[in-house]
Amino acid sequence: MMPVGEHWDLSLRHLALDAISAARADSGGLRPQALYVANVLAPALSGQSHLGALLADFTGLRGVEASTIEASGASGGVAVRQAYLALTSGALDVAIVLGVEKITDKASGQVQAALATSTDSEYEAVHGVTPSTQAALLMQRYLYEHGAPKDSMAGFSMTAHQNAVTNPNAMFRKAIRHEQYARAPIISEPLNTFDVAPLGDGAAALVLARAAALPNRHDYPQVVIAGSAVSTSALAVHDRPNPLHLTAASQSAEAAMLQASLSLEDIGLFELHDSFSIFAALSLEAAGFAAPGHGWKLAQNGDISLAGKIPISTFGGSKARGDPGAATGIYQLAEATLQLQGRANENQVPNAAIAMTQCLGGSGATASTHILRRPN
């Protein structure tokens, strides 16, 4: 995992190299047969497509099977799913999944336009809609429909910032107070700056292997993927029967839990998609941790803090660790892995044995859920 932020001195390929080298060293030097790259913005912001071959070659893996997986903000989870399918089918023994984005080279208007391509270009983006607009429209409706107070999302932002204080990879390592949230400048009402995760350059990589391919001795307990699922819904917010119900998130969470033969009570922590605070509330509701309209309340009573009932964003989430676009899902899985290996230091969730990670593409049009288990 590279710190998320402005890496003006590192190009896309150097970010990728550093993340892959760190992951391979951590795995005890396993050599992958395939590289899956999660990326969205390189074609629009770096003028670079064909990242599979480019990055395989640059990171010392010339010759391996490699390609890019794109599913907006869910790309990382979907790429892990693809690697998981290849490994469980027996076609591969070892694969690397890399998430990488280089965002800070370009001006805001260009970045917003590139991000807007994840919305429905003919029926949303043409009207000047961006991902922030979608989130603002959903939050406005949520507050209205559920009679929730204007500051109901504050707890998500405050928890994320609190957890990021002790994360060396985080973009913002400062706790925030409720007054700061309440006074923050508006981005797109009712969204304020503390409801929106800051975009940053980032790269993270995971080495996935079939159990049989693992070396006999390794430094850390090996974490098992117990459930893996991807579901989709309509791209446009207006094309969903109930825009406040993230059906793809519900379906993928349910499928992953079914595969793992687990229920919600078994989940020790949930790395959810908090690129906008409203998605934290909607994701908690979609997975079933809260009833519709009640997700925000879990952020009021400590339930989502590290020692709470269902800790989320344990290293700061996208809100405070920083939002690395397509790489989000890889950061989530890497952070959940550290939790299950007992390597989370001050961010450790006590006795973490089972973790759920979920990343969303767009405003929930794609959702990928994974369940990780620490072996006994």
């Binding site: 000047g128 961006t130 797109s188």
Partner: protein, 139 residues
Amino acid sequence: MNRLASMETSQHWRLRQQRYALVGEVCPHCTTKIFPPRDICPDCGEDARDLYQFSGRGEVYSHTTVYQAPSGHSSNAPYPVAIVRLEEGPLVTAQLTDIGDQPVEIGTQVEMVTRKLGADGERGMLVYGYKFRPILAER
């Protein structure tokens, strides 16, 4: 006209009926009204290609204002955006325009008008289409 420009033009030309006249579809199997048109009924899954003229009237389902505009829309910013519940049922996303002194709220009655939406592509071709404006009591 170069090739790039003509491709952009045809993309928008294909959408002219939806954009200028709010023409969608009606499902011949279950009578669900469909906008934007999608040829497969979202309710019953059957083929649905019969054209349907929407009235253009509806009410605000949700709304916001865009300050950080994407390129192509920056000269227009800040601008109000809403999701409108059309009286025939579907939701549609569009900008609001001609807002008077009354604040827009969820439930505000609106009607469709045709306006400039923004500029598209490197040549900055102007795109026109639907926006919604509040229906005034005396109108």
